[in-house]
Subunit: 146 residues, 2 copies
């Protein structure tokens, strides 16, 4: 059993809930994928591998996964909530191109530290943060010059 499965199972047990087949299928599918995703895309992938996992169950499982600390809600894109792993991934920020929609992921210890520091200053117990920056990406800047 994978680490994340153990984490999720323990989290569920502690809440009196069960690691059922659909929940396992959702978890596996999410951790087999390594970028942010929206629920509809996730649902489509799940359908190709497992029968009879309903969209409703996928929607229902997401908050549990978030609460367990395995994933987090990240950016919102095309009117859809996107999620991404936390477990096994460092915190990172997103540079989102307003021209082409490209999303660049950047890790930065400096940001981590500044935010932690600010949280402490404000007596805030930091759990997770999201940093999304918008602008124009390198490619679009270059193409514009043509």
């Amino acid at each position: 059993m994978q680490d994340y499965e153990i984490i999720f199972r323990d989290f569920l047990k502690q809440k009196g809930l069960k690691l059922t087949f659909p929940r396992k299928a959702i978890l596996e599918t999410i951790f087999a994928y390594h970028r942010h995703f929206d629920i509809d895309a996730l649902y489509e992938v799940i359908r190709t591998k497992y029968d009879n996992v309903s969209r409703a169950t996928v929607y229902r499982t997401m908050p549990l996964l978030v609460e367990s600390g395995l994933i987090k809600q990240s950016l919102r894109c095309q009117a859809k909530d996107n999620y991404e792993h936390i477990y096994g991934h460092r915190d990172h920020l997103h540079f989102i191109c307003e021209k082409c929609g490209a999303i660049l992921e950047v890790e930065s210890e400096a940001i981590d530290n500044v935010i932690k520091h600010l949280a402490e200053e404000n007596h805030f117990q930091l759990n997770i943060f999201n940093l999304n920056a918008r602008g124009i990406c390198k490619n679009c800047l270059q193409n514009r010059e043509l």
Copy 2:
């Protein structure tokens, strides 16, 4: 005429659009208010002051205001997009309490600088950023101890 009105008028003119009465009403209402807001709340306030400004027009005007640089989309709260001023306000980040929903706004030059630096490093032309941190606020931490 207020600065923001001039900015908006010029922006619209440059796009061949007009600063109409409903657009002016929306702009005034937004700048009379000094925190982030969602469109429904905005619409309700507008209704108390002006007749005949439709919800559709409010929705239609928001992207224009964003594009003009006067406001930006900030956090998403209770399934609603929230907006906030940019004009006349420093960039700031949000500490959102997962217990009570309180939102603490914090300004930080350090964050600004780190992000600018990272953008440069990645040849990304930074336009605007949103930083939302989640956790437990000071009050809820204290109350928990009781």
